[in-house]
Symmetry: C2
Subunit: 594 residues, 2 copies
């Protein structure tokens, strides 16, 4: 069953829920022509439907394979990747000086959703390349940019991010890979990295690895890590490929999902050390990494949205086809499609509402990152940067949690068929599971939200957001539209809960950090549910105002209402969990270790 | 990593949470010697650890295979099954007249948890045999019992239940398999069944299939189905095996999980029709099925508990071994085990609390079914039967939802390693997923709870339960134990929510059935969370009263508190979802079909 990009939903989310239209009008996007947004998304959707979707299942079945130190991807993948880069999709938001189209991140975010929905394992490769481009653009020397950037922007070469080692996962600072200074100003790197996404593959002629390693005289921990560019093939002065560098895939993982994406163990130094070039300054590798994290984490959040949308489309189609039982009140022969049953409707509404909320949160994050980079007014930039930093962990963790929930509901809608691999619903369920883990587990995101984002500025960014959301809720209330049901009340309650929980956490961050950390996960859920509900309301209000631009606006009002009454309604309980829950969590040893 | 049955938790749940001890004292269990409970569970646990756990992963990897019409199970499985039956484990609760040990269902329920935890794909085979025994015992002729019952009770032969056809899943009445009357009083059955668990395998010499089919003159729908016993090999008068019957595995599914359990397509009639014998009366097949459903559904609920316990043990061990980061306030070299981090503690507590609650709900269901079958006072039997019927859908759906949630948390605790199949956490996640689907999807369970169980007696069984739970909450409040935190308040609120939601549903069942159906799933969750919290409180109170029989009772108090403040606290929101949510669900077409 194919995938079709939900262009109308995406445009409403992008322009109105996420505020792209307002930001363009305010001049923050320079001369960006907002009229092209729809055309770009439609073209991306067409490519995804025609080229990427058909490879999704074959990729899952075939997987990536390692033989004689080389990784081969599934049949058809290398050709599809070349068509994809030839069509310019890798370069959407790349810097114009290096061949990129310089389009907003927000547009690329919507495209990323499309690639992830049609084929998450495929879309992951360019996601890593994007991080590489960001690292190189922000911290690379002009000489390195000149050699590598254009080919990364076009996608002719792909990128990897290499942080993890067996003993260094979430605790990146404990990595042991070693870098020695060479006489020519380059470095020789020795070590082993694990879980390297697309660490090796056959879709590009060269791969540009960004590797964290430690200099001999480096301080301990994260303050002693340096970032190096290590390309699979060395590059000659004329840009042609030279000798094979001393970095090799030495293993490939057998995973629950995203089978087509090679997850490699990378070995450096079998022949004396891989030739690497410093990115940024020595011992400042983590800072370089941090600048890339916003976009990478947002990218993973968008994977959650994409896989959720795909699972929803598949379940909806099945529910309209599969006949079992009769609707209440109907009798006589024959069966109805299962979509007539209220319990099935509930599952589909839950899937759609969660997906729509996560989508808008991710897009809003992208718009904030755009404005932070593009606006001319430094105050506007600073406020947008704070907003982008605040929303990033929510976009990542809330959206990927939702990707998993929606994929699970997708299996459930299919009944027994959902458990059979041929149906396809199970693949989404398997594929989605990694998104809550990589690029910082969702627990790490929650801790980041509480400590760095809420705590970092004493709550200022949160209060600014709450003010905006409160204004949205006022507009819902002022609409006096009975179709909103209890939406206004539920969102108002949710805002109150989020405010109280935030204040409590701010206080505990100082007085008792373990209490604050114990509540991080329910706090992020509270944050995402409240934000998501308000963003959906924003969209419903816009759809009402816009007449028929987005079809009958009733559907957005009903979807918002469903979210408010079924998801945002949990906010007061989440508030209590944050506040009351710390004692039991902090007494857990008595339970767990007895 | 091995599994160890949590005997102490199981005994507390069985004897105190589920009320086995009180029922024994009240004489409802006749001469059952309660002193043997612990010994049986310990022995079962030992067998599971030594024999079944090691086969769990190899079974997943190897799977079951169909070749030339025969299914072979994974290496070692047939031998393990024979050891298991030789040790008498299939016969625990079987009828004594046919070689069974006649032990309470509650004891077998605890054993079922153990088999499922150690190897869910293995434990599934005897679960089906148990249903076959129940069908034959309740509805079979003496002649059929004489031939088949003893071998089913011992497990020398296994059983299957064959309802599903491609067009007949949840809507069983639409099945098309046909039965013709033969001159000798037997029947000839022709048709195709799908999703038949252990439909063929090599662990027993014979397989006894219980197959629903339709007579030529049968009325349409469920009222026209009849149940037939069809054995793989016909049985001669002397009990020896005769000719191969005309029923064959013609396909085997490629599934998300439980790979070692063969899920077969069964074809009957390639050679004129399978010889079948009527069970019960003609056209009363569904009634025979209904009598078995309580136990089968409880069995699946116990699979949820088992896989959750297994996932918890694995995650706990990993969290104690894996070192990353430092505890708050610690500095200097070295890393701490990740269990020091509050967010990891929270995940493990969530896993343990959910598992413990689901366990006690399942055991309480088993005790009710026992008392309904064993008590001498007809009023006691009737009340227990109503309780068992009420709790069955909750035991099935709540426990299996929890099995999935806990298995997912288990993956999450492992971080990136959780996504790697070798770690083992992913297998539990895959295996658990079917439990929410088969034996009636959890949506069907919720509808059963609302329409037949709540609605069937105008709420009488629910009110009786609420009275009991309310008394428990009173005891929590009266304890004045500060370690209970907000437990009393949260459980009291939850009881109020459950009562109000129940009343609203009862009213809507009459005035607007679609409204009631729309709230079925959140209602079941509300029911399970409230019941589970109160049952944990019952256990914590018992542990306090019993001094050190169950170790430091603090751990049970803290676990109860965690559940109340993190799970039961959602009750008011679930109540509102049941009541407010119907409108949006019933307006869903405008969203889903636009």
């Amino acid at each position: 069953m194919t995938y079709r990009a939900p262009i109308s939903d995406m445009l409403l989310a992008l322009n109105h829920g996420a505020g792209l239209q307002a930001a363009v009008k305010a001049g923050h996007y320079g001369d960006y022509d907002a009229d092209i947004t729809a055309a770009v998304l439609e073209e991306a959707g067409r490519f995804a439907t025609e080229v990427l979707t058909p490879l999704d299942r074959t990729g899952d079945q075939h997987g990536a394979r390692l033989q004689d130190g080389r990784v081969t991807t599934a049949p058809g993948w290398a050709a599809a990747y070349r068509r994809w880069t030839a069509a310019g999709w890798n370069a959407v938001s790349g810097p114009e000086d290096f061949g990129g189209q310089g389009l907003p991140l927000a547009i690329n975010a919507a495209c990323t959703e499309i690639w992830s929905a049609s084929n998450i394992a495929f879309g992951l490769c360019p996601l890593l390349t994007l991080s590489a481009i960001e690292a190189l653009t922000a911290h690379g020397s002009d000489a390195l940019k000149k050699i590598y950037l254009e080919k990364l922007v076009s996608g002719e070469w792909s990128g990897t991010m290499q942080l993890t080692e067996p003993q260094a996962g979430s605790d990146v600072g404990s990595l042991r890979s070693r870098a020695e200074r060479a006489a020519d100003g380059s470095y020789r790197i020795v070590g082993t990295k694990i879980f390297i996404t697309y660490g090796d593959h056959d879709m590009t002629d060269n791969i540009v690895h960004f590797v964290l390693a430690r200099l001999p005289d480096a301080p301990a921990g994260t303050k002693g890590t340096s970032l190096f560019l290590i390309s699979k093939f060395l590059v000659n002065a004329d840009g042609s490929l030279g000798a094979r560098n001393d970095i090799h895939a030495s293993g490939i993982e057998h995973k629950l999902g995203i089978h087509a994406s090679p997850t490699c163990t990378m070995t450096m130094g079998d022949e004396g050390g891989a030739v690497g070039y410093l990115i940024g300054e020595e011992n400042r590798g983590m800072q370089c990494m941090f600048t890339m994290m916003n976009q990478a984490r947002l990218g993973v959040g968008l994977e959650g949205v994409g896989v959720a949308e795909r699972a929803y489309q598949r379940a909806l189609a099945y529910a309209q086809e599969r006949k079992q039982g009769r609707a209440v009140g109907k009798s006589g022969d024959g069966m109805d499609a299962i979509i007539v049953h209220p319990d099935v409707k509930r599952m589909l509404m839950q899937m759609r509402a969660l997906t729509a909320a996560a989508r808008t949160i991710c897009y809003a994050t992208a718009v904030a990152l755009d404005v932070a980079a593009r606006a001319t007014d430094p105050d506007v930039r600073a406020a947008a940067a704070a907003r982008g930093a605040l929303l990033t962990p929510v976009a990542k963790a809330f959206s990927t949690d939702i990707g998993n929930e929606v994929a699970s509901l997708g299996v459930q809608v299919h009944g027994g068929m959902g458990f059979i691999e041929e149906t396809g619903a199970a693949q989404h369920y398997r594929d989605a599971r990694i998104t809550s883990i990589y690029e910082g587990t969702n627990g790490i995101q929650s801790i980041d939200l509480v400590t760095r984002k809420l705590g970092g500025d004493g709550g200022a960014a949160v209060w600014a957001l709450l003010d905006e959301l409160s204004a949205t809720v006022k507009r819902v209330e002022a609409s006096n539209d009975p179709a909103f049901g209890a939406t206004g009340t539920k969102l108002r309650d949710a805002l109150g809960s989020l405010e109280r929980a935030s204040k409590w956490l701010l206080e505990r961050l100082v007085s008792s950090p373990n209490d604050a950390l114990a509540g991080a996960t329910p706090y992020l859920r509270l944050f995402g549910s409240t934000l998501g509900g308000c963003k959906l309301a924003e969209e419903a209000l816009a759809a009402r105002d816009l007449g028929d631009e987005f079809g009958d606006s009733r559907r957005y009002v009903t979807l918002t209402r469903f979210f408010a009454e079924n998801v945002a309604v949990q906010a007061p309980a989440l508030e209590r969990t944050v506040i009351d829950g710390a004692d039991a969590v902090n007494s857990a040893d008595a339970v767990l270790l007895s």
